[in-house]
Amino acid sequence: MSEIAIVVIEDEREVRDAVVRDLAPFAGHFRIEATEDVDDARNLLAELAADDVLAGLILCDHLLPGVLGIDFLIELEAEPKTRGARKVLLTGQAGLEDTIRAVNEAKLDYYVAKPWSPESLHQVVSSQLTEFVLASDEDVLPYVSILDGPRLLDAASQRGWEGRAT
């Protein structure tokens, strides 16, 4: 089974620290990687790919140094290795136009507005990762306790039945 990573891209240290800490509950099951800019994020994604780690969720700030978050997400959508990753924009500043572009072109999965509440962030991350795990060929059982358990089990039994039928 491949390890799954949550990648955070946020240039402000205080915000990055807070996001990472809010993601701590997922730390036992997912590798949590924080980057401060797009260049570092690219390096990281390359490292992950080299280590056979799947990028499961990309949580990206919108206003990044020299580039907009959605432009980076659009770039990732064009990459086969990151196309399957769930993409969430974390921002206080994306306008309606940018958001529409993100949804249409970057296949943005969710939009988290700053300031966020930890509960809502957990909920978003959990449901997005559930989708990612279901879409992948990975074994769902290890994630039942941390993600959307009922959905994962439901899917697992579905697969089981299918497996039995064949």
Binding site: R13, D17, L44, E47, L64, G66
Partner: protein, 661 residues
Amino acid sequence: MSDEAGRHANYYALCLGEHRDEVDDLVGRITQATRGVIVVEGFVKVNWFRERMSRLIARGDHVVLVIIDDQVTAVDGPKLLDELGTTPEFEPATRMLLVSRPEDREGVVEVVRPWSDQGLAHLAQSLVTVYFVEHAPEDMERIGGFADTELLSVAYTETEKELQRTESQMERLQRSFFVDADVPDDEVERRMIDEIDRTLAEPERVTIPAGTVLLRHGQAVDRIWIVLDGEVRLTRTVDGREIVLHLRTAGRIVGLMAVARNQPAFMDATAGTDLTAISLTLEELDRALRGSETLAVHFVTALLRSMVRRHQRSIDLRLQVDQLNLDLAKERDQLAAALAQLEHAQTRLIESEKMATLGQLVAGIGHELNNPIAAIGRAADFITQDLSELPLAHVDGVMMQQAFDEALHRPPISTAEERSQRNALAASIGDRALAGRLVSVGVSDAADFQLAFGDLSDDERERRLVDLERYHQLGLSLRNIRSAAGRIGDLVGSLRSYARAGQGLATGVEVAAGIEDTLLLLGHELRGIDVVREYGEVPQIACFPGQLNQVWTNLIHNAIRAMDGSGTLTVRTSSPGAGVVQVEIEDSGPGIDPSHIDQIFDMHFTTAGGRVDFGLGLGLRLAKDIVTQHGGTIAVESGPGRTCFVVTLPPEPPEANPGES
């Protein structure tokens, strides 16, 4: 032949014949018939004949009669007579041809052989009489002795008739109104009045006081006035307003127009001054005109001239109206332009009013934010103080204290650096998750790990690590609270100083401080953009700092927009002259379209989606207005990859600054 010297006679008859005796005979008879009044000369040589004729004419004498014998061989007689007939000088002369057979030649009197001496004499007398009647009536008495009386009486009758015709023609000419064109108007009018006095036995002069109405528009007219002294106003009243049609141009005859057309008066006629006038009823006028043709001529002349004057006046009026229309059109255009400017000014006023309101709101919010920010900052400090004693109570007090302090004070390392430490540590201890946690709490390599955890069991190590993480997180969170609160404090401070700067004229202003406030407030737009500050030594100036902040905001915002997310913004200050401050805001964007650069400060602002667009348009226009009010200048240089706005400000604004009061 005769010698002309001493003779007073200047009427000649010339004869040309073939034989001298025949010629002499002819000369003798005609001389006798005309009693010597006509000098008769005979020739047998054509050349002499011609020469004599030319000479007489050249001398101013008259040739009355030319007689040629057709038997002359040296020349064709009839042809010579024709030739003479077409010569203007000889034209009045009667041409006579002596012939054997009449051929009815035109313009020639033919005398057929053999002629009676008496008949020839009579013919000569008649021809001479006709000549004198037609060409020399003033010398008529000379021919009294032989003149053809019957012919004379016919000629007299004709002359008489001609005279009569001429006279009546003269009279018609006299009646023509243009014969008197040189006579001044006064004179024509005086003659007319004299003639009226003569015809109507001096009609009474009436005195009419100024203001008296002579004719009323629309009312019937039964008399005319001939004004001898004073001035009449001809007017029409339109919409309650009196329009003067004629004053000087009214003329002396008032009312005739209406009378002539048998219509009501079409103008009001009022005595402009006291008048002396003759008032004539229509019957009196009629009688006077019938009684004297001269009066009719003078009257019509005076009237005609009056009409000409009125007509000229109406042409002048028409020209005046046209000129007025032109002036009005010009004024209307000016008003339209003024209105457009006013509307523009009003829009600007509304926008600046909006900005002013927004500014007050911002200042108010900034003020309100100060308290919570101060409270947060202080609370963070208190927590830091209180917590810094707690780690020491821990079993591993020193280690916990160190984790706390490091998180609180250690300068951050980059995410890449942190990851590489983690990778290195993971490689050395063989546990990536543990390595990650260790690096997070500041245990960055294997040596530190050995130092902190080397002698512990797994459980003991986990407990210690959890506690370390706790103290580390405490320190980190406190650090982040203080740093975030500090940032909010800076923002609020800039916001307040930016907003407060709108209050009015200030002295001793550091221009760079306003630019720094602006840069801080626009910080969110500046990500990805390198800001280069080249602040030189510049003098402090007197200015309206709030307005200048508006200028910096607009110029910097423009520059940022032009670079679209990445590039270099250079802010430069310098002092090109005593007391003068120059600010340059330069971007590395693509440059301004050369076709726009001339109007860049004049463009009307646009509103996009209901909000004011600070880009090109209002922003630059406002910036220019503000700089101009400060007595400064703003200019732009632009090319691909570099656009630079240069603002120059004097030591103080001109006294009459309309900006703020």
